[in-house]
Amino acid sequence: MLAKLAWHSLMHRKGSVLLAIVSVAVSLFVLLGVEQIHNQAKHSFNRTVSGVDLIVGARTGQLNLLLYSVFRIGRPSNNISWQSYRDIASRPEVAWSIPISLGDSHKGYRVVGTSTHFFRHYRYGQNRSLALSSGRSFADTHELVLGAEVAQKLDYKTGGSLVLAHGLGSTSFQLHDEYPFTVTGILEPTGTPVDRALYISLEGMEAIHSNGPANDELIPESITAFMLGLDSPVTTFQLQRQIDEYRDEPLLAILPGVALSQLWQMLSTVENVLLLISAMVVLTSLLGLCIMLLTSMRERRREMALLRTIGAGPTQLFLLVQLEALLVVLLGMTVAFATLLGGLRLVEPVLAERYGIYLAESLVTGRTPVLLAGILAATLLVATIPALGAYLQSPNRDLQA
């Protein structure tokens, strides 16, 4: 009965109540949005790469190396020589190595020159290896494997033929059109940046860049970076130090886990500030709701007195006001969730393309339930002010005349 009364009372004041709902919804949308990005980014980052012990590249920042080798964001500063790669990869403690050569693209998707080791050793998520959904990996210089998203978005099938472009822009004028590639395989979707690239052999990479007639031996002079898997993790730090002190050229070796958490830490500072700001926005909207209710209490004095006359106790009036506040916030929450769900569908491609963030399905993750419970608690707390007014109001209407 009380809930029904609260509902009709809100419906009676549609205008101001609607505004309050919108204000709550907007503020919650901001908060939930920030929270969502936090959760998704964390989830997405942590599953990008696993099972790789060291990533080696030209000497640059840790994060820079991580970003261009794993996330394919930004540009590599310098290449490293093939010689150094062979030297380090052939050390006894190294179990496997994956060379990476970047610099070309196809319709905005990056082209990665690598070896078949990539398909065999690269791991993501909970130590999952890559798999082909169709075809086979490349075996020849003219052959190419597509990431799942590239194949889907550009509608390529195995057996198709395509031309790569020099540089990283999506509208490059310099096409390697004298050297078309044949798609031999398509990878299973992984939900990581792996989906968003095309893979060719290092020889193929060399072939499209060497001018004039093809050499017999297509050995690259340099590559961008390489990943290492070691036999025993105990040797990781030792090898890292040796690489950092490598004599022939300046190299940098990073532990992906450490670099990822460093990257995450850097982002979480920003993200915490955002969370704080959005929490303030929510608080402001709750205070607005409190003001709305307080103002309405003034208009509803006779209504409250009447309720007292027909037998409602002060506690019931207190609950009535609290219930109204809760209803407004719950409605606002519903609107915010619906908008967020729609909004995420819209920004999903942009997030993946620009920031390498892949969205997981669930909306309520991590701290979200705690946040929502906190908001409801804050609502009850803030609504105590007008509710107490209703509680303390004298039932004698002569006193209010």
Partner: protein, 236 residues
Amino acid sequence: MNAPVTQLTGDAIAVEQLQFCYRCGPAVLDIPRWSVPRGGRVFLRGPSGSGKSTLLNLLAGILAAQSHLEVLGQPLDALSGRRRDRFRARHIGVVFQQFNLIPYLSVLDNLRLAAHFGNSSGDVRSRSTELVARLKLDEHLLERRAEQLSVGQQQRVAIARALINRPRLLLVDEPTSALDPEARDAFVQLLMRSYRDVENTLVFVSHDMALARHFSMVADMRELNRAWKTESTDAC
């Protein structure tokens, strides 16, 4: 507290040395002795400021009495605020001059709300239909929002609302002042007819002496209330 405690007097209202003042101001009410027998129909008259409404609020338990006040055999001054609320909801019907209904609820929901707070058991819907018919209102008005009704209709619904829990005491405060003079007599007659039982006690406050002929007893606040004279000289 479900059944009123056994009454010593058999009076519906018994007042002794009743004094009342707002926030320690001058006494607005000072009644040495007043009683109304069960089944009495009292017309309570008096000019504005004579303490009529204050007395009514005390009888309804809306204001807390500081001295002896017995309603339907229950000493109200012995009850806590919460228990006075419940006692009122259950046993006393109240009709005011105006604003007797929650404007945004339907007539039926207004009646249901009163039944809910009064802990009334049974079929509220059929009881509402019956009351509405007795008060010569159309049944389809039950679904109408209270604010869509005319003033006269609203006052009649107010009686229905006051009677939904079958109270033994009905307090009515100037219910006709918003009505046309022609409608007043009809309203009072309707009220009397709807509240006929010999056990039912009615206190009707008005300054419209033309209505007094409907009542078996007439009381004048200027005679009941000793504070009246002092107040007129204080002029506050």
